[in-house]
Subunit: 331 residues, 2 copies
Amino acid sequence: MRERQFISRLLDVAGCGEHPLLSQGIGDDCAVLSGQLLHDRLVTTDMLVEGAHFDLRWHPAYLLGRKSLVVNISDIAAMGGRAQFALLSVALPARMDDAWLNDFIEGFTNKLAEEDVVLIGGDTASGDKLVISVTVLGSVAQGKALKRRGARPGDGVYVTGPLGLAAAGLHLCQRRRFKFDDVAVSPWPHLLKALLDPDGQSAMGGLLSALGGVSAMQDVSDGLATDLAHICAASGVAAELFANRLTPHPELENYCQLVGLDPIDRQLRGGEDYQLVFTMPPEREAALALTCANRDLPEPKRIGLIREGAGVWLLQGGAATEITFQGYEHG
Amino acid sequence: MRERQFISRLLDVAGCGEHPLLSQGIGDDCAVLSGQLLHDRLVTTDMLVEGAHFDLRWHPAYLLGRKSLVVNISDIAAMGGRAQFALLSVALPARMDDAWLNDFIEGFTNKLAEEDVVLIGGDTASGDKLVISVTVLGSVAQGKALKRRGARPGDGVYVTGPLGLAAAGLHLCQRRRFKFDDVAVSPWPHLLKALLDPDGQSAMGGLLSALGGVSAMQDVSDGLATDLAHICAASGVAAELFANRLTPHPELENYCQLVGLDPIDRQLRGGEDYQLVFTMPPEREAALALTCANRDLPEPKRIGLIREGAGVWLLQGGAATEITFQGYEHG
């Protein structure tokens, strides 16, 4: 499938895109969006490179298509916004066959539909390695974007779901304890799903923006310690995490036991979980619990506290250790 | 220079970006733009891959940095808009040394400043081949975007400047008749500038949108015949080009004579000139001439006519030949 076929197949599946704000979709030099009152616009972009961000030996095309969009959806969710429009650029190696490309397109467009996002542009080129560059535009109520700056001493530190699963999934795949056909029936469905087909926290991001009281937020893409360090640096505060609150997901616990890893360390360092980490005064917890119950969303968990100072610290066995890491190395 | 150094160097040179519409620039999960009344927003993206879109044997890093932005600026200009914000993602091979990357950054940020565009995001990754993915957001007065659809029988076909220069420049470089150090003192400065350091037609695009009467427009990136065919297909009309109006630029004429190429063919097929092709009733020519004189911009040239039918035709020596090509192959 050559580049032009890729585009025409993508348009067949995704459609040319309709949206009240879209006055020109794919098919001209630019997409045209009409003005939007009372909303701020969010823009984010991510580039995924074969071998650095994903490995085709274990990443099925359909799931990679979905994940390519999710990593951007997650950035929009981390501002408390809603994704609306996407642009997809790909450099395609000649070795990708039609079946692979069709599966990728199916996955990408399936996630577009799931997240109610309209494809409005992109580009294709030939390349030696597969490179996927996605830009997503979203919206958030005026002045309501949740930034990294804003955490205050006394705020709790919260996460929206289990951490460390994707990193354990990667460890699993790299040790070849997992065969490609095994995804569905694997003994480690949660680890593999976190790595290969993560969910972005769109609904939760919107809920947290509307709730009020959230003082800072970002997504956990590079690992909790690193991402929380960004919030601390931007806000001029320190964070203390409580080891006894970092209860591992049962599957992570089992896997760590089996291969001799530390589940706390996995949760702190492991990247690509695409959960949200945020700060909020603890007195908002009752309101948060009620809203989550109303929307049938799992309640975020408090795992630490913001205090004056700098850096991210782990309280474990009565001692505090600084754990501000230098960033997750994509493996 | 590793990925993080690239970003920090880029931010040192480009700055974090200030703009009345920008409430959050680089440094969070997303950029945040505040609402914009009475303007439509334009979005475009292009991916440039080493070996397919540029060749590092003859493309200096500084000029490649500039061109990476220009190819997108050109799409914004082709809608009659003004570029405002850019996102830059790059996959960086380990072999690119610091000097090369610094030059690339200098060129990119120099063009940002020249076009009054603010960098609001991006991403970096490692890769085997250099891949550059740029997304640009711009604005145009509400409802004033000039699209490919809209050309009417009786309209003239106009181009904003000389064509075929970039393709001849590529021919020159590929035949190795040109050495890297020769750019400034080369006997072919216009051919090389068109290929290595093209200008986007920002000022002219805005002028044509404000002028009124322009019925369709797009940029000449894949070659005049191909790009005009897009206008014809979108508008449901045919275009006739007059060979005697396709006067080659003197440097193109000399080069074609020297190497035995047909200058008409070069102008029709050659891509990457980043001029604009547009259609307009000829009675608007006087107003266009006056506006161009006022703004000190070169007056676009009429090279053909829109008629009922389909396809792009060349009138030469009393005969009409269909020349709707299948697209320029980047070389």
